[in-house]
Amino acid sequence: MLNGLNVVIKQTYRNHFKSRGYWLLVLSPIIFTAIIGGIVFGVTKMQGNTTPTVAIIGNQNVRQIFVKSDKTLDMKISSITDAKQANTALDKQSLDGVVTITSNDNATLTTQPKSNHINKEAIASILGNLSRTQKASSFGLTAEQTQALSQPFNLKSVVKQANNKSTNGDNSNTANYGIAVAIGIITWVVVMWYTSMIATEIANEKSSRIMETLLAATSSNIQYFGKMIGIFALAVTHMLIYVVAGTIGYFSFKDNAIVKSFSQTFSSMTLGFSIYAILFILVAIALYLVLTALIASLINDNSQVQQAIQPITFLAMIGYIFSFIMTNMPNNFAIKILSYVPFVSQSMMPVRLVTKVETWPGGIISLIIAFVSLILLAWFGKKIYAKNVLSYSDDKIMSQLIKNITRHD
């Protein structure tokens, strides 16, 4: 029995792993990401030097302050100090802008149509500070008093957790939304790829009558579980390839600003939570594979594959959609209930758990419900599979399924 199961698992895995289609599936997102990254990099390079050159006309003391701050302002301060020369240079487009300081409270920034981006807020901030300092001085305030008046109000965002630990609210929200979307997308994409694969596999064997030859040597249970485990192993391999590629990518580009901000955003995720989320995704994928194998046994030929997997696609879409909307309403009653419903709970519960809306016992119960459902569905599915895999009906797939569920012969 185990040997036969092993043979079917290996054959299913090997056939797909060696196929061009599988590698296209695995590599296309990596290639797509590389192409997009390449295009962004290329466009940035082609733009050349985008640092604007700005002339400061008027108060020379102010100009000196701008010269000292040019790095933080991300602009180059031109050596031109004469208004006429500056306007000529602006007309010739050799300057990006001219800041003309007319009084303590007024200045004009003049640009030309092809100017590179100039940070107006930063210019206004420097000029505003200077203006305030000068006014404070005229009011007879000390430097400390001036400094105290200039100090902006500090509003910090903190999320109070049940365990009295506080986390940075802004980062947590981004991370939670990111986790919700990532789990939703991963489950959705993997389910779409692999349900189609297992349905096609079973439809092909059934329609070409290979199934009879296979079942002459092994039982339908071996075929049913062997194929599912084989395809599940392919899905896991697929994800592992991405994990390895991601790890290599991370260590290759860890000094990159985007990668740094990404890893900082997700720093609130713990190892325990990561394992929990991965387990949930794997159980969800297995659930969808079992459901697909069960329905695919009712297919007569390959033309019915889409018809068979359509309801599964809709089911997967529910979780996918909720993964987007739930972060805004974590305490909604429907979302609370759906967090325990197999097939969609994988998109709800991990996020509710990481946002501390739900506690670990609730999270574990939801995972156990999904796992028990997987076992029950697999057990029920093997009966449906055995009953239908060698029979060919003209009825619609869903009506066949209903007949199978309601009839007990």
Binding site: R209, I210, E212, T213, A216, A217
Partner: protein, 297 residues
């Protein structure tokens, strides 16, 4: 020994197999004949446990057939099916492994099988590139390469030309000589006569004839006479005891009422001495099949 005892299968109101009894012995070939829908494939499906009998039993050496036993069964289904995108080798190795044979052993055996069955192409060729006849041979190899103890062949010769039919028949006889129990179905009575030790004729699920091929033919008496000589059809048709006369090549096929009529006809046609051919035979399986089908209609 495989034994089918009072085996019946009913689908709703329709009886597909009705109280069938059969014994298959090592080193013997059983031919299963019958019209389309007579219950041949249903019988095979029950043996393979694809469908459960309504009543009756199927045993292998007096015990039910287990999953482990199934690994020792070679089955060629009526509707052939192979993985079109796999190579011949990948395909055969998978089926061999399912039957408990190691990949290494199957790989070394495959070379001999491809040669013996005269398969046009290499082991690395994809099945989709093969002709129908060659694909059928590959399927036959998949069913037999692991040296099964029990072989079930559903219409093994359908769609094959005479040369390939002859090759397949040689393989079946080779497996029989190695001690395998073989049951096969066929519409071609000539092939059934050539390789069957025993036969079962099914009609509407019921066995209407069973036994050794020659024994069954003899049951119907030696009522077929072939004559070559200077005689007209009318002359022969008017002889006492002659039912009909059909021209056959250089002579005539006569159907007579009883064995002893042959003596009188022989005396008559040799009254002037030598004639090139006189042969008195029992009816062919083809004749018996037609007769029984008509008789039981």
């Amino acid at each position: 020994m495989i034994q089918l005892t009072h085996l019946s299968k009913r689908f709703g109101d329709k009886i597909a197999v009705n109280d069938l009894n059969m014994i298959l012995e090592p080193g013997k070939v059983m031919g299963l004949i019958g019209q389309n829908g007579a219950g041949k494939t249903t019988t095979f499906r029950m043996i393979l446990n694809f469908i459960v009998p309504t009543s009756g039993t199927i045993t292998w050496d007096n015990r039910p057939i287990t999953q482990k036993d199934k690994q020792k069964i070679g089955f060629l289904p009526e509707e052939r099916g192979l993985y079109q995108k796999l190579t011949i080798e990948e395909q055969i190795l998978y089926f061999a492994e399912l039957h408990g044979m190691s990949r290494a052993d199957a790989k070394s055996e495959l070379t001999h099988w491809l040669k013996r069955l005269d398969v046009v192409g290499k082991a690395s060729d994809k099945v989709q590139s093969l002709s129908k006849g060659n694909a059928q041979k590959v399927q036959m190899i998949a069913s037999l390469i692991f040296k099964p103890e029990f072989i079930i062949l559903d219409e093994p010769f359908s769609g094959l030309d005479p040369v390939n039919t002859s090759i397949m028949m040689s393989e079946i006889m080779r497996m029989r000589d190695q001690g395998a129990m073989i049951i096969f179905s066929s519409h071609d009575m000539n092939n059934v006569t050539k390789i069957s030790d025993n036969l079962t004729m099914l009609k509407q699920g019921k066995s209407i004839l069973q036994g050794g091929v020659q024994e069954i033919r003899e049951q119907f008496g030696r009522t077929k006479v072939y004559i070559e000589g200077p005689f007209s059809r009318e002359e022969l048709a008017h002889l006492p005891g002659v039912i009909n006369v059909i021209p056959q090549g250089a002579g005539f096929d006569l159907t007579i009422t009883e064995d002893h009529v042959g003596h009188d006809i022989f005396t008559y046609v040799t009254k002037n001495g030598y004639i090139p051919a006189f042969s008195q035979q029992p009816p062919t399986l083809d004749d018996i099949f037609r007769q029984e089908v008509a008789h039981n209609a």
